[in-house]
């Protein structure tokens, strides 16, 4: 990404550009280097030139998500960075279902892991996991559930995943084009079963989504995606996909150690979306460890 080029401009050059501008256009990197801002905001945040005060100092405006001269929006990239440093999630599409797994961030042993909210059931056959800020995820889950339920009420049918995501994406996009709000710090994996087919979508904080067959997001995503590319086949069955997803998650885990209460596993097939309990996940982990040991 070319966003670093602006930051490396030296101060002298930046200030000469500003004096010529007179505060007309928005240019966040120039501000960062030489400007002192009156407000308490973080200079690195994507604030833009605002009104000139009498002393010639600039005040930042309240638009966080504005473009810089390289055509990037810093806040969105930072939000994506926030999501890519978070606890990993993996999703895999199988012939007869789709599985999504995510790692739970547990601060200590004393936290009750089964109450940590990481996986959401949006409708009868749609489930969602996230990477990023949990409170943002709760908001997005509420929005998605409302969309799905109102569709069910008005049409008496389960919502197709892509229709849900179009509406949800529109909701997320609002936060990238409004003042005084920040985008959600999230990357989402949405799994669903519709029309006798498994669907898996990846959505980022901007609200754009892509259908995928197997993907890992969050921490160490490149390692996981390489592993998935090597091991994923189209003909994989759901049980094998669950095992592959847990193995991939293990790759991304700290010290490659993970136990059943530190992960949430859910799958969607023709019977709907179901979240596996720790007792159901435990035998799979034992099976894997057995393989690893030998």
């Amino acid at each position: 990404m070319s966003n670093d080029s602006g930051d490396k401009m030296d101060t002298g050059e930046a200030s000469s550009v500003q004096e010529g501008d007179g505060g007309g256009e928005e240019s966040s990197e120039n501000d960062d280097e030489s400007m002192e801002c009156d407000c308490d905001c973080d200079k690195v945040a994507g604030h833009s030139k605002g009104l000139e005060t009498r002393r010639g100092r600039k005040r930042c405006s309240e638009v966080l998500t504005s473009f810089n001269e390289s055509g990037n929006i810093h806040q969105l990239e930072y939000a994506n960075t926030c999501a890519s440093k978070a606890e990993p999630s993996v999703g895999i599409v199988a012939k007869n279902g789709v599985v999504i797994v995510t790692e739970k961030k547990l601060g200590s042993r004393l936290i009750e892991s089964n109450t940590v909210f990481t996986m959401a059931k949006i409708s009868e056959s749609i489930g969602m996991v996230y990477c990023g800020i949990e409170a943002d995820f709760r908001q997005v889950t509420t929005k998605a559930t409302k969309i799905a339920t109102s569709y069910l009420v008005s049409r008496d049918q389960a919502i197709p995943v892509n229709v849900l995501l179009k509406d949800l994406g529109d909701n997320l996009q609002v936060f990238t084009q409004s003042t005084r709000v920040r985008p959600f710090g999230l990357a989402l994996l949405i799994a669903g079963w519709h029309r006798n087919r498994a669907h898996l979508y990846k959505m980022n904080c901007v609200g754009s989504f892509q259908p995928v067959r197997a993907v890992a997001i969050g921490r160490n995503a490149e390692v996981c995606n390489t592993y998935l590319e090597r091991h994923y086949t189209d003909a994989i069955e759901l049980d094998a996909a669950i095992i592959l997803a847990i193995q991939t998650l293990k790759l991304a885990a700290v010290n490659n150690l993970i136990c059943s209460h530190q992960m949430a596993v859910g799958f969607s097939d023709q019977n709907g979306f179901k979240r596996m309990t720790d007792d159901e996940v435990e035998p799979i982990l034992e099976h894997l460890r057995f393989e690893c040991l030998s």
């Binding site: 008005s154 049409r155 008496d156 049918q157 197709p160 892509n162 229709v163 179009k166 029309r195 006798n196």
Partner: protein, 219 residues
């Protein structure tokens, strides 16, 4: 509801039939039906196309919606339903199925709970995925009644139900269904000055739609 035409829909084996009586309201339309041709001008200069007398509309390749009741309300509901159905299809990128259209229409009618459209409706069609025929009738507030055999609307619905109960049997083939539905429509005519101008029969199978016109007494 004086201008209510009758509509009868029947289920057969992998097929369904709808017959809708021509709904006549004015002198011009009556002369038009009598000439039984396509668009032609009458002596008073008004032009009506025979197809305007029809109360059953295509809402997709395999979906028919029939109305009976106040003509102005039929036009309004038809265009509002068409809008909602088009929006639905654009969002989903695939043809709407009968259950969803029934619910769209039902919600549309109930939105006017305290000032309702004075119409009754029939939704008939094939589900794309299961390829099964589906018929459903609805009252003016959108209460849907999904039937396994037949549904009837309009002023003559009592007669239609009675005759259909006698004549209908399960697993009718397309040509048998055509006979049964025509007989039911003819026998159950609610005789007054607004009836007898003829009916349109549509037999819908999964891959084709056949339309016939039944001539009435025209007197």
């Amino acid at each position: 509801m004086d201008k209510a035409g009758n509509v009868l829909a029947m289920l057969g084996k992998d097929c369904l039939g709808i017959v809708s009586e021509y709904c006549i309201g004015s002198q011009d339309q009556a002369e038009e039906a009598a000439s039984t041709s396509a668009a032609a001008s009458t002596s008073t200069g008004a032009e009506t196309d025979c197809s305007e007398l029809n109360n059953v509309f295509k809402f997709g390749e395999r979906l028919l919606v029939g109305f009976s009741g106040l003509n102005t309300d039929i036009l309004e509901v038809r265009s509002q339903l068409r809008f909602r159905k088009n929006m639905h299809e654009l969002k989903e990128n695939c043809d709407i199925n009968p259950v969803a259209l029934t619910n769209l229409l039902s919600n549309l009618l109930y939105e006017h709970r305290f000032g309702p459209f004075l119409i009754e409706s029939i939704v008939a069609g094939f589900d794309q995925d299961t390829m099964e025929p589906y018929i459903c009738s609805m009252d003016l507030l959108g209460q849907a009644n999904v039937a396994k055999d037949f549904v009837a609307l309009g002023k003559g619905s009592d007669q239609l139900y009675g005759v259909s109960q006698a004549l209908w049997r399960p697993n009718l083939e397309a040509d048998q269904l055509f006979e049964v539905i025509c007989q039911s429509a003819v026998c159950a005519l609610h005789r007054d000055s607004l009836r007898g101008w003829g009916s349109k029969v549509m037999i819908l199978e999964f891959d084709q739609l056949t339309e016939h016109t039944m001539k009435g007494r025209v007197d």
